[in-house]
Symmetry: C2
Subunit: 314 residues, 2 copies
Amino acid sequence: MHIYKRKQIAERVKLDATALEAVEAGFAALGRGEVEMPPILSMNIAESNGEVDVKTAHIRGWPRFAIKISPGFFDNPKLGLPSLNGLMLLFSAKTGLVEAVLFDEGYLTDIRTALAGAIAAKHLARADAHSVAVIGAGLQAELQVAALRLVRDIHEVHVYARDHTKAEAYATHMRAHHGLPVTVHTSAASACAEADIVVTTTPAREPVLRWSDLPRGIHVTAMGSDNPHKNELDPTILASADLVVVDRLSQSQALGELRHVPALQREVFELGSLIAAGRSLRSSAEQISVCDLTGTGVQDTAIANYAARLLEGV
Amino acid sequence: MHIYKRKQIAERVKLDATALEAVEAGFAALGRGEVEMPPILSMNIAESNGEVDVKTAHIRGWPRFAIKISPGFFDNPKLGLPSLNGLMLLFSAKTGLVEAVLFDEGYLTDIRTALAGAIAAKHLARADAHSVAVIGAGLQAELQVAALRLVRDIHEVHVYARDHTKAEAYATHMRAHHGLPVTVHTSAASACAEADIVVTTTPAREPVLRWSDLPRGIHVTAMGSDNPHKNELDPTILASADLVVVDRLSQSQALGELRHVPALQREVFELGSLIAAGRSLRSSAEQISVCDLTGTGVQDTAIANYAARLLEGV
């Protein structure tokens, strides 16, 4: 059994094309019906403003499955600790024996979450998309843009965050570390006006994006909502968009954007099914596409297997 | 963060009165409504005849919660490996940080399962119970008897197992290692005839015990069934017994004995509630009591906290 720490993992696993390929293979297997993926186990620890989620999935034929444990303790910053944490365990799918423990402290989750956004854009955004709007100014606001560069020739970034100071800091950081021109906006509408892709990366409990904010032809990825209380998209967006896609229907209905539009009467696709079918949904440069990502166990099994292969030097 | 292996853990954690007290405290907290315990996460890995269960619980006010991962891969014996395996992780209930990993390979599960049987008998069996019948001849057939000695003055054992050779081997082992007289029987009825307590410890998918097998005054603990396909007790037992108790109603209904009697119309108690209320259900030496144990996350959190305290020398 091997034990790996965050530093080792972060040195080997990068936001790059091979990592994207690994996560995309997970989505494709899900779309082909080759994945066993039980509902997320979730527990609240009210007295510490904490929660813990456990996700898992097995991809038929893969040698190992991962179990990911993600604690989120939101008073941690007061103690000088990060809110999010966690680890992944890799088990042999033949014997059930633990083969590796990845004490990644959430690093692999950050990576696979950013890659899912890139995979959504790869299959849904216009081929000539080059301008990204980001709502939110946290770590995913950075990683989503970095990941999008793997699938589209991104050369301008627009940011809007409720906290203007954080948006300014984000812009400075992105210019310095990613060499991208970044414009700070004072509204989501203004940030989206010039964008081909918009990614919402907030823990919002009320919509941060409205239908009227979206120019024709834009692709929207909503990656923030992952529990029943979170909600980034105004219901009119899901009702009015030309194309609506989610990572997993049952999850989006239980804890993603679909939860907030229970009466929605329209076809909603799963991202994995589109990939598996080699199907391009977008049929014109004018269509508005939306993808809601809640985060799935199959992404964890895919990235953990990929990380272990790199760490073992395979 | 501390990492402990099975050998270290087994050297410190024994089937004794303090371990029993720790697990009983978990049941009592559950009974007082002080436990957050989400449904079990369960995944099948059909191609390897495997499954993996994840259990957790947090006891309000306790410093740590455990997450237990239990793989069961039933073709492992063909490879010279045990079917059951697993580990427990202990997290700070204040910060969500991992504080200990107990690579116990199922040892602590064996212990807390045996202790639950003893706790059930402590609160339900006659005070003068001294004779135990065991149905099955595996590891729990041994541990359940050993644990019962913590709460009752057991001085005779009766065993019945479908495989007579295994029952004989069990008898030899119990005589040698526990100094107990053991009689091997050729039917469950005959084993129960002289017993004050009977424990079923099988993976049976059809009842191994019928109402007519039970003498007046006996206490029955059914500990084998822990998935929807398993079933040790004939429905007439649950319908006819004077007292019916389970570890957790929702679990017994989903994957324990109550699943097989959906139309049962009677009061069913939870073991923790009885302990919390200091309530003795048995009111006569003639009553027949039954307790169905499916195995709960609160037992895991209780035993893992206890084990870590011993290992850390607290």
